[in-house]
């Protein structure tokens, strides 16, 4: 197991290097100028050139990349051009807020998705299966930012039950696990959970249906096992794939919540990324993308190791 883990860990290194090159180059290719965020539009060409030199933006791209990566290896992510604050502070603060939101969405989505998926798989081709399948497809298909706006109109504007924006009184730095703060989490977390509910439900339904039709299940029944014991075997067989899907979904929840965080003004990594894109804040953009990409890589590593722990056959592949 340890050698498998080390082998996977070594494979992460070239992936991390590739990610760093891609995220550095991508933001450079996009048109626009980071100085726009920090200089008046009628700053003279001379003043712009001076500022470009001050931020090192006048150097050739490979040199800029080497400086960036050298600083990164020393734990220094630079400063945001737009805000002047350290990128690390900005990114980790925002990622923490996104983890909170993604975690809440996962807590809602994964149990519900798994339960619905098992129900549909177990009662395959019945009315219940069709209803759950229809709900799952709807969940996956509905644009979640639209759903977010609708939920805000109903529960914030019309009913006044839940707040429409922000991370609670005093902002995210003052987060507490009390209702005054948790109520700010409800609408974005529910909105964010809708897509993974659909995906997990459809995955688990397919897995459960397939496994239930396998010969070993018939053999288990023939050996006299009850329905509960058989389902336990089915669950164990489905767990590795379901876990892998959930792991990826958690990554998507963290990195893919850009629209939800914008609609709900949630101060997470998606909101940060969106602002960094509009301001062409290159250091912040590179830092945020890198951290989110590395989170994906880390999640994949964890899922791989967990899958191997659940299903020993995987270690041999």
């Amino acid at each position: 197991m340890l050698s498998y883990f080390l082998r996977r860990l070594i494979l992460v290194l070239p992936v991390a290097f590739g990610v760093s090159v891609v995220c550095f180059m991508l933001v450079q290719i996009a048109p626009g100028d980071p100085l726009t965020a920090i200089m008046p539009v009628d700053a003279t060409a001379e003043q712009q050139a001076a500022m470009r030199a001050a931020y090192g933006l006048d150097k050739p791209l490979p040199v800029q990349y080497l400086i960036w990566i050298a600083n990164l290896l020393q734990g220094e992510m630079g400063r945001s051009i737009a805000s002047g604050r350290p990128v690390a502070d900005e990114v980790f603060g925002a990622v923490g807020n996104s983890l909170l939101l993604a975690g809440a969405a996962a807590v809602i989505a994964f149990p519900i998705g798994t339960f619905l998926g098992f129900l549909a798989g177990y009662f395959r081709d019945t009315i219940l299966d069709r209803v759950i399948t229809a709900l799952s497809i709807t969940g996956v298909s509905v644009p979640n930012y639209w759903l977010g706006i609708v939920l805000v109109i109903i529960f914030s504007v019309n009913l006044g039950w839940l707040p429409s924006m922000g991370a609670g009184p005093g902002g995210s730095q003052d987060w507490h696990w009390d209702w005054a703060h948790i109520r700010h989490l409800v609408l974005p977390a529910v909105t964010l959970a809708v897509v993974p509910i659909g995906i997990v439900a459809r995955t688990v339904r397919a897995l459960a249906g397939d496994i239930l039709s396998m010969d070993f299940v018939t053999a288990l029944y023939a050996k006299g096992l009850g329905r509960g014991d058989v389902l336990r075997h089915v669950a164990r067989n489905a767990a590795a794939t379901a876990l892998s899907v959930m792991g990826l979904q958690l990554g998507y929840l963290l990195g893919g919540s850009i629209l939800i965080e914008t609609v709900f003004n949630w101060p997470g990594s998606g909101f940060l990324l969106s602002n960094a894109i509009f301001q062409r804040d290159l250091p912040l953009l590179q830092g945020t993308i890198l951290i989110l990409a590395m989170f994906f890589v880390g999640m994949n590593l964890i899922v791989d190791v967990a899958q191997a722990a659940i299903d020993p056959r995987i270690k041999r592949t």
Partner: protein, 534 residues
Amino acid sequence: MLHLRKGLAALALSVAVLGAHGASAQGTLRIGMTASDIPLTTGQTDQGGEGLRFMGYTVYDALINWDLTSADKPSVLTPGLATEWSVDPEDTTKWTFKLREGVTFHDGSTFDAENVVWNLDKLLVEDSEQYDPRQSAQGKSRIPAIASYRAVDDHTLEIITKEPDATLPYQLAWIMMSSKANWEAQDKDWEKVAEHPSGTGPWKLEAFVPRERAEMVPNEEYWDKDRVPKLDKLVLIPLPESNARSAALMSGQVDWIEAPAPDTIPAMEGNGFVISSNAYPHNWTWHLSRLEGSPWNDIRVRKAANLAIDREGMGALLGGLMIPAEGFVPPNSQWFGNPDFKLTHDIDAAQALMTEAGFGPDNHLQVKALISPSGSGQMLPLPMNEYIQQSLAEAWIDVEFMVVEWNQMINLWRAGADDPAVEGSQSINFTYFIQDPFTGFIRHLDCDLVAPNGTNWGHYCDEEMQDLFKQIKTTFDPEEQDAILRQTHEKFVNDALFLMVTHDVAPRAMSPKVQGFVQSQNWYQNFSSITMAE
């Protein structure tokens, strides 16, 4: 009798206590800004006009401020930390400023002439200890006239300009004064100052969470007693997404939002929210290329295009929240004058001019226009430009759009009409601040500011106009200077130098609880007069 006296005394005391409480406890105002972050707090703000509105003229003062007290007339300059200023008649590059006495910063230190010198060094002198590149990036380009400066005594400042320049007072209205003593107390570290700023303004920044909120409390010691805030607290919340802003207001999470989307306004008004708006120096135009070969070099084409647009009709598209252009500056501007060319909607006259210029129903003029899908101050650029496209088609002008994202648009605005990146576009739809002679007139058409040296995008250069700009800079009597500015504006309009379309009215939506707000005809506003009703 004694009981009665005691009773009256108790009653009087109660009324006095209640009155005092009522005067100082007028509630909290929460504002949803369009900015995505709290503007830079150290003095010279970022985030454009909104930055100075919420973090500049609140926490800080300039030597010369804008008068924000009236909704009925255009804003003019008013004494700020300088009580009076004059130029030496013998040497019109030498200015003397008398500074206000008895002013203290929020940290308790005293404001004096050395402080002004220290603040100017902060922006202009790169090897000074307090030089701050971030503030310099915002402030240096605003004071191009300044050559040198010195403190004559504690309350007298001298500024020497590079050449005679009567627009210096307008330039100084951009420059906010931060506290030297506070910078020293914060280990001479601007990052620490950002968390604990100190100005002389009517509001003190009490707390801020980057990208989430800033909280301000009144500066009870403010030198202008009329601008001591009546509120207990002012809370600023960045809400860049317009739907999120509207929902936050309608669900009671904020009391005021900037720039509500026009399509949400009927619903807001239907729910009892108040829409406040007023004319202010904002311009929505097309700047025209004057490079050789541009069709806009023909004054008949420029006039025809201006006559082809039904500006009143565009009002419906914007929920009425616009002022149809009658010239380059808003019609009530002190610099409007009396142009001969009237911007009416007259399609027959437009077609007659186009015929004269050699075009017709079977021979349309083809032009290419740079536009953006969104952007600060751009209002609703896509539908508005499509409306213009339809209007111009009636005058046989076919418009092909080149649509670029806002950040890239700013680069193309700086680059100018002859830059290959504009791909032959002959006009650009760009909106901006026209609050002073430089931003309102000079920067757009000065021969010395042809892009990329400045923002004369279209490469216009005209001897007569250049002479008018020179007169603006060398006329030191404000009334005479206003007269020349009116003359300049008349030439802007009579020569149809732009496609002049509309002016924004700075709409803001607020709860009916917000009382006492006077929306000045300015990019900045005064929040000190506001109270919150129960």
